[in-house]
């Protein structure tokens, strides 16, 4: 069966089916999961909304907002102050509207100017909000921080799910609408967009306020699991960094880029942050710089390139296939499968350790060990997937370089015994990847 063709012809159907599967998975999740896992999933969904709504404005226009935390925190504080007066479901849109109004004000002052002023202005907004709230609390209300009555895990998960669906749908519709095209043209060349008759300031301010609305609404839903907040907890730069990092990692060109980034790093954040906070942030900083340098379109940007390499057309004029490259490909795939299984075992082991640590109240060393397990598991799963993809490339003779990369990846694993013959075989079989030009010369198949 020709898999790529099947995917491209039934694209919409598959997408809808996939989305329905995810929705079913999330809605039935509380039936079979532990409470801590439900909280983990809720956190991931919170990051999904933050990352998607950040990318909606900053990813398309190139105006870098460095203050998701300010709007998120506004939502948290709206919840803290209004929880006694109003029902939870009413506070969500109110929190969003507070953030919307605040963003409107900021946008009207700064978005008329060049992007640099906007970035500078938003950078310190977290400190601005912290000081204002601290002033109000200490001088006017006479208290430090606010207590928030916790809400059960399941309703929080379902409200968050609804908000995710609304956010993603709104983002999708905005990107398809006139506004979306206007945003893209502002990102491409603002002066030209203005000459085309787009009211650039109004568009920017409006979309910035919309994206802030979702951040504020998320803050309301995130608030109950914090139980106690003060200005420093609610307006932490951490919540500015994470969504931006996730959106960049996933890639902002597509709507699902930020979602992928949020799912991966939301999971890692929840599992690693407590034990290894500084190492975790150090690593994220390094990944962020590396992604900006080497993957300007995020990992989503990698997909078309890889797709072409792996499933792309293979020229007909090839030397005859022999067993060497085929064997190397099979070895690659086997090695990759061993690595993936190993990483899954490590993930499960870390979950077991985390549970153990919580039961025994010894988070120190066990926590470290769990963190180490997860770090090794991540490396293994990346190596394993590369090895499998390289194996497919070797079987189809579509890219020698990827095949070799896969063999090298297969080397660093419990299955290193498979990697050594794979490397030797793929080097011996290099000529099978070259195609014959009329004069009888061979040339490396240049597949980009």
């Amino acid at each position: 069966m020709d898999i790529p063709r099947f995917i491209s012809t039934h694209r919409k159907l598959l997408l809808v089916g996939f989305l329905v599967l995810i929705l079913i998975f999330i809605t039935t999740f509380p039936l079979y999961a532990r409470a801590s896992h439900i909280r983990l999933l809720t956190t991931i969904l919170i990051y999904v909304v933050l990352a998607v709504s950040w990318a909606l404005f900053s990813g398309t226009t190139g105006y870098m907002s460095l203050a998701p935390a300010a709007f998120f925190g506004l939502g948290i504080y709206t919840m803290a102050l209004l929880q006694k007066e109003l029902p939870f479901f009413l506070i969500i849109p109110i929190g969003g509207l507070v953030a919307f109004a605040f963003a409107l004000l900021i946008g009207l002052v700064t978005l008329r100017l060049r992007g640099i002023y906007f970035a500078i202005f938003t950078f310190g907004l977290v400190i601005f909000m912290t000081e204002i709230i601290q002033y109000l609390e200490t001088r006017l209300w006479g208290q430090h921080g606010q207590h928030i009555t916790p809400i059960d895990n399941e309703p929080l998960l379902y409200t968050m799910l609804v908000l995710v669906v609304v956010t993603v749908l709104a983002t999708y519709l905005i990107r398809r609408s006139r506004y979306g095209l206007a945003l893209l043209s502002i990102g491409g060349n603002e002066e030209a967009a203005e000459h085309m008759g787009i009211n650039t300031t109004r568009t920017k301010v409006f979309i910035f306020a919309i994206s802030s609305f979702f951040m504020g609404a998320t803050g309301v839903i995130a608030a109950p699991s914090l139980i106690y907040v003060n200005a420093n907890i609610a307006f932490s730069t951490y919540y500015s960094f994470m969504p931006i990092f996730m959106a960049i990692f996933g890639g902002m060109g597509q709507i699902y880029g930020p979602i992928i980034g949020a799912v991966i790093f939301g999971y890692l954040e929840k599992t690693l942050r407590a034990q290894l906070f500084s190492y975790f942030m150090l690593g994220f900083g390094i990944i962020m710089v590396a992604v900006i340098l080497f993957l300007p379109n995020g990992i989503v940007g990698l997909v078309p390139t890889l797709q072409d390499k792996i499933w792309g057309p293979v020229p007909a004029l090839r030397k005859e296939k022999t067993w060497k490259a085929t064997a190397a490909g099979i070895l690659n795939i086997l090695g990759g499968i061993v690595q993936v299984i190993g990483s899954i075992i490590l993930f499960m082991g870390s979950g077991f350790l985390a549970q153990f640590a919580r039961l025994e109240f010894i988070s120190g060393f066990i926590g470290w060990l769990a963190g180490l397990y997860i770090a090794v598991a991540i490396v293994l799963i990346i190596l394993g997937l590369t090895a499998i993809l390289g194996g497919i490339c070797a079987l189809r003779r579509s890219s020698w370089r990827l095949g070799l990369a896969g063999s090298i990846c297969a080397l660093f694993s419990p299955a290193f015994i498979l990697g050594i013959p794979a490397i030797i075989l793929i080097i011996l079989g290099k000529d099978e990847f070259e195609y014959v030009v009329e004069g009888g010369q061979t040339e490396q198949h240049a597949n980009t």
């Binding site: 202005f121 990092f245 900083g285």
Partner: protein
């Protein structure tokens, strides 16, 4: 009352000189390299923390510590521009894209430096006061280090200004800031100049950090608020204008003292923001900015 306001203003001016120095490096980096260097505060932090370590651990005079840590931070800034920002500039399709990418990359570097420092030196407060005894002047009590740090900041500011306006290297830097392409054609090694300016900015941040550490207890988490302060000062003074940063620094120093002394110490940053908002509405180019 009048005497109290006068004393607050004088202390504010003394304080503002250091703010001016903190912002000057940032202004230079934006003016020449077009990078909004939000890691600036982390360089201030490195300067301050290293001064503390040299002072307490090795008994080095904090005012001489920049001699040791200055070249170190200069090298770090130089490397950052010569590797990261240079590559980003070479790969970016347009200047606007470069500014956005550089900002985000700097956001990543900020976390790298901050958490590297936190892993290495922990998060505790590091008090290393120097010349902290009082002197009486015009009937007002001052702390000695306020005068000393102001004098050093002012001297450095004038030195950098003279360097940029008089020396051959300074002329090359100004030419590169104005038009890198033409400067390159005139025989200026622009990549070298960009890296040098960035390093100089980092060095100024380090010296500023050393001065700060004589006055207040420093910590590895101090970078962020210092970056915000420096950014506000730079925008108030006009992006890329060195004398502007100094004037705005002194203005912010006076305002911070008046707000803290007469009204409410927690509200200094919101007051800066109010000033910034008014400025952006009235004169976006800043007090001494051109265009």
């Amino acid at each position: 009352m009048a005497e109290r306001i006068l004393s607050l203003i004088i202390v504010g001016i003394l304080q503002g000189g250091v703010y001016g120095l903190l912002a000057m490096g940032l202004s230079l980096q934006y003016g020449v390299c077009r990078v909004i260097n939000i890691t600036h505060g982390e360089f201030i932090m490195l300067g301050a923390v290293l001064t503390y370590i040299l002072h307490i651990g090795f008994d080095v005079n904090p005012l001489l510590a920049p001699v040791i840590l200055g070249p170190l931070l200069f090298g770090l800034g130089f490397l950052l521009q010569a590797t990261l920002f240079r590559t980003l500039k070479a790969w970016a399709p347009s200047p606007a894209v470069f500014e956005g990418n550089a900002l985000l990359a700097a956001f990543g570097v900020l976390y790298i430096i901050e958490h590297f420092a936190r892993i290495t030196w922990g998060g505790k407060l590091m008090p290393s006061y120097y010349l902290a005894d009082l002197v009486s002047f015009l009937g007002i009590d001052f702390v000695k280090n306020q005068f000393v740090t102001f004098a050093i900041a002012l001297a450095l500011g004038i030195a950098v200004y003279l360097f940029l306006s008089r020396s051959r290297m300074g002329r090359a830097i100004r030419a590169t800031a104005e038009d890198p392409g033409t400067a390159g054609l005139m025989g200026v090694n622009t990549n070298m100049i960009l890296a040098f300016s960035f390093g100089l900015g980092a060095l100024l941040a380090g010296v500023g950090g050393a001065l700060v550490s004589t006055k207040i207890a420093v910590s590895t988490g101090m970078g962020f608020s210092n970056t915000v302060l420096a950014l506000i000062v730079v925008v108030l003074g006009g992006l890329g204008s060195i004398p502007g940063s100094f004037v705005a620094g002194i203005l912010i120093g006076i305002v911070s003292m008046l707000v803290a002394g007469l009204w409410e110490p927690i509200l200094t940053v919101p007051v800066y923001y109010a000033m910034l908002m008014i400025l952006l509405l009235v004169r976006p180019t800043g007090i001494l900015g051109k265009k």
